[in-house]
C-alpha cells in the first residue's frame, strides 16, 4: 500500500515536473515571439501603424483669377454647393439615387459619372460628389428631406465661373474635369484633391501659373476613416491672378458686330506698341461655363456636330487663304528688291498673261471698275483698289524667294504668338515645300497666286493681325500675347527681344501707310463705301479668299445653305489711327464675299470701341462701365 502510494506519488511528481518544464519552455517561446515582433521587427510595424492612423488630406488651392486689361473679372471662382454621398453610410444606393431624382435635377449621365468616381480608390468615409451647382430651391428641398437621406450631404466648393459666357470662350477658354488621359500624365501631387484642369485657352496655357499648390491636412483617423484630430496643416498656395491684354469692351464690340450681322468668322485686335491682344473672337461661340462641371452629351453633341463648328477657334486655328490682305507685304518686298518704286506704273488690261503661257489670270477689277481696262496703275492705287494685275506683274518680275522671305519676316507660316492656345502655323509656301508635299515643281503661276494670298498660302486671322501689326510698327516684330501682367508682377513668360525688319528706304513704311489709308479714304478705296470714319484715319486692306467647294458637313446641308457656305470668305486688315497707329486688326467673315463690305463695318466697330471707348462712354460720362458689364 505504502509502496504503491509512493510509486503513484513519484509518477505524478515526474509528470508535474515535466509539465512545468514544458510550460516554461513554451512561455519562453512566447516571449521570444513578442520580442521578435516588438524589438526586432519594431520599425516595420511602427511604420505600418503610423500609416494606419495618419492620413494626408489635400487642401486644394484657389485657382488664380483672370482679369481683363481694365481689371474686370473674366474668370472667377464662385462658391457652389455640391451634393455628396458617403457610400459607407448609404444602405440602398440605387433606391437613394431614385429618391434624390425626385428631389433634385439628376440625370443618368451624372449618375454614371458618380459610379465612375465611386469605383476609383478612395479613403473610406470620404464623400463622393454626385452633383455640382445645387441651386437654392434644391438646397431647401434637400434640407427638408435630410432626415430621410442617410449618407447624403452637401458641401461648399469653389467652382470656376466665366461671367462673360461665350464672349471669351475661345480666348480665355475653360477648365473641366481631369480626364483619364490627363490623369496619367499630370503630377498627382500637384493635383491632389483637385478635379479640374485648364482645357483650352488661357486656362490651359497658364495652367501651371493659375493652378497654385495644394496644401494638406495631416489628420489622425480611426479604422472607419473618420477624422479624430488634426495633427498638422500646411495651407495651400493660391494660383496667380492674371491680367490680360483683352478688353471686355473691345471684345464685346467684336462679338456684337458679328452677332447682329449673323456672321461666322474671327476678329483679332492687337495693341500696336505691346503686341497685346485686345480682342480675339471666334464666332459663333459657346458658353464655357457648360464645361466646368461636365457638359451633358445632350448639350455637347449638337454643338460638336453643328455645321457652324462653334468649338473651332477660328481666330488662332482657322486657316484661310489670306487673299489680298497680304498685298502690302508683297509691295514692300517689291520695293525692297527694287523691282518697283512708288512711281512705277503698269498698264492693267484687266487680266494678266504669263509670258510664254496661254493661261490668263483675270483681275477681279476687270468687271467692276468703271475705268475698265487700260488704266495705268501705281502701287498706291494697286493697294487701294486691290489690283491683282499690278501684283502679278510685280511678283513675276521679283520671283518667289524675296516674297517668301518677306512673308516669313511678317510671321506667315510660323507662330509669333507667345501664349495663344495652340495656334495654327498656316502655310507660307516655297519651292521646296511644294516638291515635298505635292511632288511637283514650282510654277510661275504659283508665284502669282502666292502674291495675292491665294494658291497654297494659308494664314490664321491671328497671323494676319500680327503681320498687320508689325507693319503698323514699321517693321518691329512685336510678338502677340494675351498676358499683360500678374498680380505679383512676375511674368511667367519670356518676351523675346523684337527683331526689326529693316527697309533700305525707311520712308516706304509711311508711304505704305498712306497707300493703305486710300483703301478707306481714297476715291477708289475698296472699303470706302462701307466705312465712314470721321474721328480717325484708318489704314486698311481688304481681301477675298475662295472657300472650299465642299465644306465639312456639306452632305447634311440643304442646297441653299451649301450655296452660302461656298461663297468666298471676306477678309479685312487694318490699323488706326493711320498716322500714329495704336491698334491693328484682322477680321475674317466666313463666306462674307467682300472684305470691304462684310469685314469693314465690323472692324470699324471694334476700332471705335478701342479708340473711342465703348458706345455708352461715348454718349456721356454718367454710365459706369464697370456696372454695365457686371453680369
Amino acid at each position: 500500500m505504502v509502496q504503491s502510494q509512493i510509486q503513484e506519488k513519484r509518477i505524478v511528481f515526474n509528470r508535474l515536473w515535466l509539465a512545468f518544464a514544458l510550460v516554461v519552455v513554451l512561455l519562453v517561446l512566447l516571449c521570444y515571439r513578442y520580442f521578435h515582433l516588438q524589438v526586432v521587427q519594431h520599425e516595420g510595424f511602427a511604420t505600418k501603424s503610423e500609416r494606419n492612423r495618419v492620413e494626408l488630406i489635400p487642401i486644394p488651392p484657389r485657382r488664380g483669377l483672370i482679369y481683363d486689361r481694365h481689371g474686370r473679372l473674366l474668370a472667377e471662382n464662385r462658391p457652389s454647393h455640391q451634393l455628396v454621398l458617403v457610400p459607407e453610410l448609404v444602405q440602398d444606393l440605387p433606391q437613394l439615387l431614385q429618391d434624390l431624382q425626385q428631389l433634385i435635377q439628376l440625370d443618368d449621365n451624372q449618375i454614371q459619372v458618380f459610379y465612375q468616381r465611386l469605383s476609383r480608390a478612395r479613403r473610406p468615409h470620404s464623400p463622393v460628389v454626385l452633383r455640382d451647382g445645387l441651386d437654392d430651391s434644391e438646397m431647401a428641398a434637400l434640407a427638408l428631406e435630410r432626415h430621410n437621406l442617410r449618407g447624403v450631404d452637401t458641401q461648399a466648393t469653389l467652382v470656376r465661373y466665366y461671367p462673360y459666357g461665350e464672349l471669351f470662350a475661345h480666348s480665355v477658354g475653360y477648365v473641366g474635369r481631369i480626364n483619364e488621359e490627363e490623369m496619367r500624365v499630370l503630377d498627382r501631387g500637384r493635383y491632389a484633391g483637385m478635379d479640374v484642369i485648364g482645357k483650352v485657352g488661357v486656362e490651359r496655357t497658364y495652367e501651371d501659373v493659375l493652378h497654385g499648390t495644394p496644401g494638406f491636412r495631416k489628420v489622425e483617423t480611426n479604422v472607419h476613416g473618420r477624422i479624430i484630430r488634426e495633427l498638422e496643416r500646411k495651407p495651400p498656395i493660391p494660383g496667380q491672378d492674371l491680367i490680360l491684354h483683352l478688353d471686355v469692351d473691345v471684345q464685346r464690340a467684336a462679338f456684337d458686330a458679328m452677332k447682329t450681322r449673323e456672321r461666322r468668322g474671327a476678329v483679332v485686335a492687337i495693341e500696336v506698341e505691346t503686341g497685346g491682344i485686345v480682342a480675339m473672337l471666334s464666332a459663333p461661340s459657346y458658353d464655357p461655363n457648360l464645361f466646368v462641371s461636365g457638359i451633358p452629351a445632350s448639350v455637347f453633341n449638337p454643338l460638336r456636330d453643328s455645321i457652324d463648328v462653334p468649338f473651332l477657334d477660328r481666330a488662332a486655328r482657322g486657316i484661310y487663304p489670306p487673299g489680298s490682305t497680304v498685298k502690302p507685304f508683297v509691295g514692300l518686298a517689291g520695293l525692297e528688291q527694287g523691282v518697283v518704286n512708288w512711281q512705277t506704273t503698269i498698264r492693267d488690261p484687266g487680266f494678266y498673261r504669263l509670258p510664254n503661257e496661254d493661261r490668263v489670270f483675270y483681275n477681279w477689277t476687270w468687271a467692276t471698275r468703271r475705268g475698265g481696262a487700260g488704266d495705268r496703275v501705281d502701287m498706291v492705287q494697286a493697294i487701294a483698289e486691290s489690283n491683282n494685275t499690278y501684283f502679278w506683274d510685280l511678283a513675276y518680275n521679283m520671283t518667289l524667294e524675296p516674297m517668301h522671305e518677306m512673308y516669313d519676316k511678317f510671321g506667315f507660316g510660323r507662330n509669333l504668338a507667345l501664349d495663344v492656345f495652340r495656334p495654327a502655323a498656316g502655310l507660307n509656301p516655297s519651292r521646296q515645300w511644294k516638291r515635298q508635299h505635292r511632288q511637283l515643281p514650282w510654277f510661275a503661276g504659283d508665284t502669282l497666286n502666292t502674291a495675292v494670298g491665294q494658291g497654297f498660302m494659308l494664314a490664321t486671322p491671328l497671323q494676319i493681325a500680327s503681320a498687320t501689326n508689325i507693319l503698323a510698327n514699321e517693321g518691329v516684330v512685336v510678338h502677340p500675347r494675351l498676358l499683360k501682367n500678374t498680380h505679383s508682377g512676375e511674368l511667367p513668360l519670356i518676351i523675346p527681344e523684337p527683331e526689326v525688319i529693316q527697309l533700305s528706304n525707311s520712308d516706304d513704311w509711311q508711304q505704305m501707310f498712306a497707300a493703305m489709308r486710300q483703301t478707306v479714304h481714297g476715291a477708289r478705296g475698296t472699303a470706302r463705301p462701307h466705312i465712314q470714319s470721321p474721328e480717325y484715319d484708318i489704314a486698311a486692306k481688304t481681301g477675298t479668299a475662295q472657300a472650299v467647294s465642299r465644306p465639312d458637313g456639306s452632305e447634311r446641308m440643304d442646297p441653299k445653305t451649301l450655296e452660302e457656305r461656298q461663297r468666298s470668305h471676306a477678309l479685312f486688315n487694318a490699323f488706326a489711327p493711320a498716322r500714329d497707329p495704336k491698334i491693328s486688326i484682322a477680321v475674317v467673315v466666313d463666306n462674307g464675299e467682300s472684305g470691304g463690305r462684310a469685314g469693314g463695318p465690323i472692324a470699324k466697330e471694334v476700332l471705335d470701341a478701342f479708340l473711342l471707348g465703348p458706345p455708352e462712354a461715348r454718349l456721356g460720362p454718367h454710365l459706369n462701365n464697370q456696372e454695365r458689364f457686371r453680369p
Binding site: Q7, V12, Q38, F45
Partner: protein, 370 residues
C-alpha cells in the same frame, strides 16, 4: 513518513478564518488589478466596463474562497456529479438552448442564461481525476481509453455548438489528467501520431469553413488583409509598433482608433503590448509564470492522488488559456476564441477560472484524505 508526525504548521489566518493559499490569492489579486488597468485603456476609458469586470472578479474571488473551504473528501465523493449535470445540460443545448453570434451555446435555467460548456471546463478534470485516482497507476491503456471516451463525448457536443475554444480547453483539461496519471509514453506517442493522421480527416470533414480560414490566415494573413487576415495583421501591428517601452498608457493608436478588433476581449494582450511595450509583456508573462509555479507547487504538495491530478490539470489548463490566447494574438496560432485569463473582458471565464483555483486550494489544503 511517520504517522505521529505533527500536524503541518499553518498560519493563524488560514487556520482561523479561511483555508486559502495566500500567495496564490495575492498573485491573482495582482493579476486582476493589472487586468482592470489594461481593460480601462482597451475599452477606451470606459469605467462602466471596468466596474462590471471588477464585480465579476469579486464574484470570482468569493467563489474561489467558498470552494476552497470545501473538504477534499466531499469533493472526491461528489466529483462525478458536476460532469453528469453538465453533460445532461449540454445534451439539452441543441434543443432548448438559444443562439448568440451564430452559435448555440447558451441555456436558460431559472431565468439565468449560462453556458453548460463553462461548467464542463471544471467538471471534466474533476471527473477524470476522480476516475483515474481510483485506478492503479500508471494508468493502463484500457483505463485510459475509457477515460478518453468520457473526455470525447462532451467535447464533441461542445465542438458541435460550435465552440472550438471551449472544446479545446475541455479536452485538454481531461487529457492532462491522463497525462499526469502516468500513461505510458508509447501510448502518448502513438496517440500523437494518430492525432496527426486525423488532421486531414478533421480538415476535410469536421472543421467548418471559417475554422479552416483561420488556420490558413495564420500562415499568411496577407492573403485576405481586409477579411480573415485583418485581425492578425492589426494585432501584430499593434504589438510590433509598441516596441520595447510601448506608446504609453491610453496612447496606443491601434487600439484607441479601433484598428485592433476585439481589443477589450480576446485581443487585449495586443493593447498591453502596444501601450506598455515588450516590458509590459514581460511583466504580464512573469506574473503568469509565478502563478503557474505556485500552482505546480500546490499540485505537488497535494496529499491525495485525486488532488494532485486535479490541481495539475487545472494548472495546465490555465496555461493553455495563456498560451493559446497570446500565441493567437501574436500570430503563431490560429484564431481560437480563448480569453486571456483575468485580462479579457467577459463574465463566465473569470468566474470559472477563479472557481478552478478554489478547487485547487480545496484539494491541496489538507492531508486528511491520505
Amino acid at each position: 513518513m511517520s504517522l505521529n508526525s505533527p500536524a503541518p504548521r499553518r498560519h493563524w489566518l488560514q487556520r482561523a478564518v479561511l483555508a486559502v493559499d495566500w500567495p496564490l490569492t495575492l498573485l491573482l489579486f495582482a493579476l486582476c488589478g493589472l487586468g482592470l488597468v489594461v481593460l480601462y485603456s482597451a475599452s477606451g476609458g470606459s469605467t462602466l466596463l471596468v466596474e462590471r469586470q471588477a464585480i465579476r472578479m469579486a464574484i470570482g474571488f468569493m467563489a474561489m474562497m467558498l470552494i476552497a473551504q470545501m473538504s477534499p473528501r466531499l469533493l472526491f465523493r461528489l466529483a462525478w456529479l458536476p460532469y453528469l449535470l453538465a453533460f445532461v445540460l449540454l445534451l439539452m443545448v441543441p434543443f432548448f438552448g438559444f443562439e448568440a453570434k451564430g452559435a448555440k451555446r447558451w441555456i436558460r435555467l431559472a431565468g439565468i442564461g449560462f453556458q453548460p460548456s463553462e461548467i464542463m471546463k471544471l467538471a471534466m478534470p474533476l471527473l477524470i481525476a476522480w476516475y483515474a485516482s481510483r485506478k492503479p497507476m500508471p494508468l493502463s491503456l484500457w483505463h485510459a481509453c475509457l477515460a478518453l471516451v468520457l473526455i470525447l463525448l462532451p467535447t464533441l457536443l461542445i465542438l458541435n455548438q460550435p465552440d472550438l475554444g471551449t472544446s479545446l480547453l475541455v479536452i485538454s483539461s481531461g487529457l492532462f489528467v491522463v497525462f499526469l496519471a502516468g500513461i505510458a509514453w508509447r501510448w502518448l506517442i502513438l496517440a500523437g501520431i494518430a492525432g496527426l493522421s486525423m488532421a486531414p480527416v478533421m480538415w476535410f470533414w469536421v472543421m467548418r469553413d471559417y475554422q479552416k480560414q483561420r488556420v490558413l490566415t495564420m500562415f499568411d494573413p496577407e492573403t485576405d488583409p481586409l477579411g480573415a487576415g485583418w485581425n492578425i495583421i492589426q494585432s501584430t501591428t499593434a504589438i510590433g509598433s509598441g516596441g520595447l517601452r510601448g506608446k504609453g498608457f491610453m496612447e496606443g493608436t491601434q487600439s484607441q482608433l479601433s484598428f485592433l478588433p476585439e481589443s477589450h476581449t480576446d485581443f487585449i494582450i495586443a493593447v498591453l503590448a502596444e501601450e506598455w511595450g515588450f516590458v509590459g509583456v514581460l511583466v504580464l508573462l512573469s506574473l503568469y509564470l509565478l502563478i503557474l509555479t505556485r500552482c505546480f507547487m500546490l499540485s505537488a504538495a497535494a496529499e491525495s492522488v485525486f488532488g494532485r491530478l486535479l490541481a495539475g490539470a487545472i494548472t495546465m489548463t490555465f496555461f493553455i488559456y495563456i498560451f493559446v490566447n497570446a500565441g493567437m494574438v501574436a500570430g503563431i496560432l490560429p484564431v481560437v476564441g480563448v480569453p486571456l485569463p483575468m485580462l479579457s473582458y467577459g463574465g463566465t471565464a473569470i468566474v470559472t477560472l477563479m472557481a478552478g483555483f478554489g478547487l485547487m486550494m480545496a484539494v491541496t489544503k489538507t492531508r486528511r484524505l491520505a
